[in-house]
Symmetry: C2
Amino acid sequence: MEKTKIELSEQCHMSMKAISDVQDLMGGKWKYLIISSLYFLDKMRFMDLKRQIGTIAPKVLSKELKDLEVNHLIIRTVCNTKPITVEYELTTLGRSLHKIITAMAEWGIDYRSTVLK
Amino acid sequence: MEKTKIELSEQCHMSMKAISDVQDLMGGKWKYLIISSLYFLDKMRFMDLKRQIGTIAPKVLSKELKDLEVNHLIIRTVCNTKPITVEYELTTLGRSLHKIITAMAEWGIDYRSTVLK
DNA sequence: GTAACTAATTACCAAAAGGTAACTATCTTA
DNA sequence: TAAGATAGTTACCTTTTGGTAATTAGTTAC
């Protein structure tokens, strides 16, 4: 009894620390949207992302992309094209977020169809 | 070709709107931790939650619980016990977040063991 | 040669989020 | 009767987040 209780709370504690880590990496208004854009659309340029996400300010997009890059969730590649272009894409680590992304998307779609009318 | 491209971006757009909805409900530093505590530990009282989560201020916990309650993710029950106690537990809607919760927990645990050595 | 597109950066500002500390009110235990 | 637990609330303050608007610098199309 005592033992199961302790094991449960160990498991719980571990999961909560893990969730905290995820929040540290993915906190804020935009990161899941950026990651999911790249998950659905593969390689995207700065302006592609801006247009896809809609209302994000360039300053904010730039900052969010840097955060994601330093945490190795995306990679930034400068292409020496006609006007210089920059491509962003998920790393293997970034792609490994797909379970979270799809769980969120599914839940949100469900929520929309059941709760919001 | 044209058609698949449009369908992909419709799907993508829908998913992103869904993810936005989830962020609106679950934004901030504490909500996933509260929900996951209740997911692992079932019914919890205010002080249980505070101790489990650790560093959260009572003011903040109180506000977060209200947010979750108005969005029907948790229910608050006042028990008329010796000293008055209040129990919080997940609603069916709140429990339906489990895929997101477990995906986050798994990813975070994996991240800890691989990336953070 | 001027307008437009690329990928940002900069300065400035408002609002939101979250923390600290103290306090309330009710009840129980030593 | 004072301490300690229950569940919060209040005032105050700092930090973070995110938005606006203008600007930069390079390239290209008209």
